[in-house]
């Protein structure tokens, strides 16, 4: 990952144009913003964005990914630079590992367990202990990834019910719904999950791994990049559930930040800005990494996670999913 370069969050309808081999963002209020191309790592579009091929080819040449979120915060797609990190050796090992049921299950099991523990950590409660114990006994008996996903689903349902106890009534999830999310809490979680997925995808693009060859999620899972879904799992509690709980406790979210309709909800314009600011701040948070012996940001943790998988493929180092140590 480039040491320099920022994520730009486009929360308003705008137009991306190429100017002097750099990027100009035209906004509805008429004031264009010029962004130096070398300063962009990726662009995340929350709203309608107009982009043309000459701008896209410039983005591609500079290795910038453009992520698009739809109105309800689902990851609608991304425009990625033509592959430059490609390595047949890594991809071949990745395919071999995922085709080998034992190896695949080992990674999938650790992903499910770690995600569950991360959720317990992020909610910081003992209420999840029985569910976690049940999951710990159930996971070793699972013979395929579908069964694992089922067990994970059970645990997540309990987790969300517990999360609801920390939230004000209007923000409660009342059961996770998506496509579209039915209430404010679900809309928030959807947006955060899509953002984590986008971050993971950006990180995977900077490694030779193929984002579609995953360990845990089914190969047919909405035809998405299953490896990115896998890697996003352990990070979702750190961002989605934890931020929701904190934003509710600090009363940062207001009902006017959401556009609620019958049976569907999404973030309003101000809500999008607020969420973008929340996530940006969170991604920049640093912790001391004990092996690297230096401060790393949450954003970099995601990148390190992708590198762990490269190491699994090339050196056979057992993969230990991310777990907060602080």
């Amino acid at each position: 990952m480039a040491a320099v370069g920022r994520t730009y969050w486009l929360t308003e309808p705008c137009r991306i144009r190429r100017e002097d081999n750099s990027i100009r963002v035209e906004r509805p209020d008429g004031s264009p913003v010029r962004i130096p191309i070398t300063d962009i790592r990726d662009l995340i579009a929350f709203d309608n964005v107009d982009v043309n091929t000459s701008a896209m080819s410039l983005l591609s040449r500079n290795g910038v990914t453009l992520h698009v979120l739809d109105h309800y915060g689902n990851h609608a797609g991304h425009f990625a630079p033509a592959e430059s990190m490609a390595s047949a050796a890594v991809v071949r090992r990745q395919v071999e590992l995922t085709a080998d049921t034992a190896a695949r299950l080992a990674v999938a099991r650790s992903l499910v367990l770690t995600t569950a523990e991360n959720l317990r950590w992020s909610l910081d409660t003992d209420l999840l202990a029985p569910a976690l114990d049940a999951l710990r006994t159930a996971v070793p008996t699972c013979e395929d990834t579908d069964a694992l996903m089922g067990q994970e689903g059970n645990f997540r349902r309990t987790g969300w019910a517990v999360l609801d106890t920390f939230l004000p009534p209007w923000l409660r999830l009342n059961g996770r719904t998506r496509r579209p999310p039915t209430n404010a809490g679900n809309a928030f979680v959807s947006y955060l999950n899509a953002l984590v997925y986008a971050r993971v995808l950006t990180a995977l693009r900077s490694t030779p791994l193929h984002p579609a060859i995953g360990f845990l999620h089914a190969d047919t899972d909405r035809r998405r990049n299953t490896l990115a879904l896998d890697l996003a799992e352990p990070f979702k509690p750190l961002f989605a559930e934890r931020l929701l709980k904190r934003a509710a406790a600090q009363k940062q979210l207001k009902e006017s930040d959401f556009e609620t309709d019958v049976g569907r909800a999404s973030l309003s314009k101000d809500g999008r800005k607020k969420v973008a600011a929340l996530v940006r701040e969170e991604l920049a948070t640093t912790v001391h990494h004990r092996t690297l012996k230096r401060q790393v940001s949450y954003d970099e943790l995601i990148h390190l996670e992708a590198l762990k998988l490269v190491r699994l493929c090339l050196e056979g180092t057992p993969y230990k999913p991310f777990r907060p140590w602080w």
């Binding site: 320099v4 730009y8 070398t38």
Partner: protein, 87 residues
């Protein structure tokens, strides 16, 4: 590194210098740019600028610091630079 770049060039060469700087740095004021660069990007920028200006007449000054944290900035009057990274 964090770079502040100030240029004072002849009118006919201004647009060229401006365009080159826009590729690497954020515009802060009429002839002032700032931003974070890697050492390589900084070198690339300076080399390109070197080919654009007339060394007998024009002048470009850069101030560099290891990180923006080392520099305190304050503005009087209108803030002309961009709105940050949430657009």
């Amino acid at each position: 590194m964090f770079v502040i770049l100030v240029y004072d060039t002849a009118v006919e060469r201004n647009p060229h210098v401006l365009k080159t700087c826009r590729k690497y740095l954020h515009w802060t004021q009429r002839s002032v740019f700032q931003g974070e660069l890697t050492a390589g990007q900084y070198r690339a920028l300076m080399t390109t600028l070197g080919t654009v200006i007339d060394p007998d007449h024009d002048s470009i000054v850069t101030y560099t610091a290891r990180s923006p944290d080392f520099i305190a900035t304050s503005t009087l009057g209108v803030s002309l630079g961009g709105p940050g990274d949430i657009l």
